[in-house]
Assembly symmetry: C2
DNA sequence: CTCCACCCTTGGAACTGTTCTATGTTCGGG
DNA sequence: CCCGAACATAGAACAGTTCCAAGGGTGGAG
């Protein structure tokens, strides 16, 4: 899949300096940043970017389907630019690290569908990463 | 699975009046309440219960493994008393309604495990419920 | 039965992540 | 240039959750 910035360029979407750095920061595999992490990294590239713009842009990109929003146990949403490429998530319950993984998708039996129109499925494997497994408590 | 209150009774856990009504409210299938909904319903049964106690109790129960916490896109966590009974969730993207469903669990291939110690898997089917499918916009 | 220590509960303040608002800035077309 | 529309900004407002200091109830020791 081509990177987010490239995808945006071919859409008719005004790519301002602020929006570009936000999109640039959201590139690659295993990238699952919080809004605040996006803000910090974007600001490192372009100091004149505000938190509001980060939130506005993230929400717009999610609405456009160019970014996936994933709720997380700690309350902060993560943003995943790796859309269109079916994958699931492997999450460390201790440190919160998230990796993209491939596995087959579960199917919902017809008798369990309750008349719903199915749109997609999200799979999250909860696990403990090697680093956290080697220490007794959590790595905070 | 026996109800939450019954499970708690056999543990050595002080079951005060407040904790009991909180547990009673969390009983049944397809029960996925927010903390505030738990608070409202508990208070209907026992007016002298505070929001802080609801949060304290919910977090304790989650820590004990008697309650599952599920992050949601709208920011409010839902609490599911139906633990120990493997099931997944069917969520309406418009109105947020959540149903318990059974489906087979996806397995994580060994070459995708990244050395993590697997603990569990959460599956969420995103869909549109019959009520929301019949109207153009969302039911707010 | 009485007392004490401890855990539980409480209301409200504090905190965190997100959204809103009012204002200023930039861009492209005429 | 000048204008309107879209975009960006700082900070206030908001919602959900957690923290805190103080009060209250309960169970065990004596």
């Amino acid at each position: 899949m081509e990177p987010l910035v490239a995808r945006l360029r071919r859409r008719e979407w005004r790519l301002t300096a602020q929006r570009r750095v936000i999109a640039e920061v959201l590139t690659g595999e295993h990238v699952h940043l919080t809004a605040d992490e996006v803000f910090e990294r974007a600001r490192a590239l372009l100091p004149e970017v505000s938190r509001a713009t980060v939130y506005n842009t993230l929400n717009e990109l999610v609405g456009m389907g160019e970014l996936a929003e994933m709720p997380h146990a700690d309350g902060r949403k993560r943003y995943d630019p790796n859309v269109g490429d079916r994958h699931h998530h492997l999450v460390c319950v201790d440190c919160g690290r998230i990796l993209d993984v491939r596995a087959d998708e579960p199917r919902l039996p017809a008798d369990q569908q309750h008349g719903f129109e199915l749109l997609g499925v999200e799979v999250t494997f909860r696990a403990r990463c090697p680093d956290c497994a080697s220490v007794p408590a959590d790595v905070s």
